[in-house]
Symmetry: C3
Subunit: 376 residues, 3 copies
């Protein structure tokens, strides 16, 4: 039979699918529109900073689709509209496409994930969807969470699972990220690869949980990033308490903070970031929840004071974010919130004297709404 | 229980939702693909213009989703594929995302809208989806309709409602819109804010309707745009007749038309736009509808002729757009159309003499289809 | 009644639709997420090339929607996330929107397609969705498949159909594609138009099929591209065998290959591309399928050797792509694959001597998955 349509090859390919009823499709698809919008009033003061502003801002706007397309296969997709859709030169997707992967249940305990996915980093700061975090600490503000590769998760028991991932360490080619003009010892690797291992544990009926990870990423040839994150959570009916410790030792600076402080023509090398992060959530009643996030980052460079001074502290930053959630409806998770966001960036005497920088602070009042909206 | 998925935090968040049945979700979601595609044949003649062209053009291509996600909450989303997806620096969404908001029915009469939304401007030209308008008059061709903020609507009675909005007045930061090199008195405001008030009235069983609005927008520090629009509609079984009057007094030119005429290094200041717009739609029978749009714009500058000449007319433009719709199917709103679009841009003697411009006209024949296609 | 919503004009337009039940909508919509992700290991050697790399890559990531919205009307939409979303200046859609069209069944045998659509080129290489092709031959690697216009298909019988299309020949305006600085005889046409005619035949109960097309495209004023493609397929239970012959005579080079070889300031003129392409697919059993693609391209310039040398061969390229598919699940079309991709670019003695180029080869091992995933 001659085809009725010129574009049969372009129409949705369903020929090779065993026909499922439409109700089955409907039962197995989830769609969501996730929104966070807020009004910000902020000031930056100190050092070279003297700035203030006010604005409405769409902090998080995303369309997510997940579907169970087979007894053993899920597909996960999310387009985040607050990120650039410019197609990335290394893995050929815009950074707006945070998720585009399939998950295969290879055995009852082993799961394999293929495609654009979130790195299996530990820590509870990282475990939140960006919609839930008003301000990330310095590492996660500048880290790349969604990259392409293969992940496996093994559920050793009800309480413990381990994961391992092999990923591209970036989404763009070397020349786009570093330009043509690099330091003499900075060269392109054959493969900008990242290896992530994690362990997730659960103790005392889930009251205590842990998310640990260790990762190694080759950013340029023979220069590696080692990143450890240790996350801990205590949870009961009213209270959630989370504490993360992060340590990133970077043979070439991938976060850019040290490079910005040190200045100069090239990307900084041999830098270290050490962080503490704490978040407490207390549910006063079904309508009101109080939150407090506290965080610090210390940034180190190498041989800044002198050619043999070793690891030199450049800056310590502090953050405190008290927040109040109000849930007007009991049967849908829409939250109105008001928060204060305080940051203080305290430069070391060395940095102030030798690098011409000055300590500064940010103060912000923010109110708005957070709405994870299931639509199908 | 240890999680089976590494990306639980990234999967669709449904834990906090009271489980609704899938059929409920289906009942409460609407999806549409709205398309207008046409073939254009056009000429520009007069002044510096001597140009003609022919092309197929996708004038309007959008995916819309709206869902009632709770008895009192709707979510509205629209991605318009004919607009740039570059993330805007002030409100963090591309201009392609025209709608990304939730509407809350706070009381039976009061509705609150939060997020990226259309400004509550009056006028019937503005009330149409862009799919329905082949050519906007000069103000709306250059105005920003979709911005971020908060709107409230109060339904005073069956016949009358009033609305009030507080919005960002632009989507990008000052430096991106105006560059670094601005006139000496042009400075960044703390908040580029826009206030919109409107009234919608209905008289004689809806035969006469009105849409009035008054808005004030701070574009740069201490320089405001005042915009009045008065829209009127008469409607019976066969005929719709709409007339709008628009007046925009701009301490700094946000439409760019006066700036283009005056020329020079900086954005023009103290300009005024005055418009009339009329649209008639007559339904000959279920298959054929005739339309006629007529419009004028007069653009004024200040002290152009001399340092104290006051408001000087720069240009008056005219437009006439006779259109014929043909609906081939009675049970779906797909329209084939053919239209003539005539524009004449008549410069004032002052502008011709002092600013080196010349009057010109545009002529265009356009045919194509308009299809608001509900798909779910 | 006064409207309850400020944005009635922006909400989904359903007023003019005869109400269909939600189950009807559900029955008539198809959504799919189509994915191909792979790990590539490749080398380029010879001539000026000495490069190798390894990376995960999202070769194909697309969301498709098709819906029967009326007994006689379908809508087709596909967003391909691996392509730029920059709005194209001529037809006002990003190249990521591969399909945005409606198809109307005008008579039982005649179908009309309006909007962004795939050109009705012949050949089986072109008939595949890009997800299914690991490497295109030289013409299709550089051709524009999705443009805007009108197509008609006439089903003459069960076995034979013919199609005719009138399209824009590009998506961007002349000045964006060719810049301001063009050869003296290169000027903008009023309409960059493309005409495509095709014939699809089926013989011996579909065992032999053909897809032939002939097209003419005006790229710049009075300079045309003539493109012939002759596709043939033999199919039985186990084996599919496809062979295409392509011939493209280009008064101005639209593929860019000859321009790259010849070098110089301007786009090359009077170039010819001749191609052979063969693909065999053999189904060993329900789990394993073997594929082999073979291809050649010969690129010619005019008067390269001397002012009257006529058609001069510049380069012949060869390609061979053995591939193995493994389908782990019998009831869903997810394929794991491993492939070798070999290319050899052999320059003519003329090109090597006069144009300073050298032959080179590419070798690649690729493995990954192909998944056309129906989600609704």
């Amino acid at each position: 039979q001659a085809q009725h349509s010129q574009n049969t090859s372009d129409s949705l390919s369903n020929a090779s699918l065993i026909q499922k009823s439409k109700i089955d499709f409907l039962e197995n698809i989830n769609m969501s529109l996730d929104l966070r919008m807020s009004f910000r009033t902020y000031t930056l003061r100190g050092g070279d900073n003297d700035y203030q502003g006010r604005q409405f801002e769409n902090g998080f706007t995303a369309l997510g689709i997940s579907a169970k397309i087979h007894e053993k296969v899920h597909v996960n997709f999310r387009s985040r509209f607050n990120k650039t859709s410019e197609v990335q030169s290394l893995d050929q997707l815009g950074n707006n496409i945070e998720l585009a992967n399939i998950t295969i249940q290879a055995t009852p305990r082993l799961q394999v994930q293929l495609g654009r996915q979130s790195a299996y980093f530990g820590g509870y700061e990282y475990s939140f969807k960006a919609m839930e975090v008003l301000r990330y600490n310095d590492i996660q503000s500048n880290a790349l969470a969604y990259v392409t590769g293969i992940g496996t998760t093994f559920n050793a028991s009800q309480e413990h699972s381990v994961g391992f991932q092999i990923l591209n360490s970036r989404t763009v080619l070397y020349s786009e990220k570093y330009g043509e003009d690099t330091a003499p010892d900075v060269r392109e690797p054959d493969w900008p690869v990242e290896l992530v291992g994690n362990w997730r544990g659960s103790f005392f009926d889930g009251k205590i949980q842990t998310r640990y990870s260790l990762s190694f990423a080759q950013e340029v040839k023979d220069k590696w990033i080692s990143f450890i994150t240790l996350g801990h959570k205590y949870e009961n009916n009213k209270l959630k308490l989370m504490y993360d410790f992060d340590y990133s030792s970077e043979e070439i600076d991938t976060k850019g903070l040290a490079t910005n402080i040190i200045g100069g023509e090239f990307i900084a090398q041999e830098v270290t970031y050490v962080e503490n992060w704490l978040r407490a959530e207390y549910k006063f009643n079904p309508k009101f929840t109080g939150l407090l996030t506290l965080m610090t980052n210390t940034t180190y460079g190498k041989n800044i004071a002198s050619v043999s001074s070793g690891r030199d502290r450049l800056r310590t930053s502090y953050g405190w974010i008290p927040t109040l959630y109000y849930r007007p409806f009991k049967d849908i998770d829409i939250r109105l919130f008001v928060a204060y966001i305080g940051r203080y960036f305290e430069y070391s005497p060395l940095a102030i004297r030798d690098l011409g920088v000055g300590s500064y602070n940010e103060n912000e009042i923010r109110f708005g709404f957070i709405a994870p909206l299931r639509i199908l």
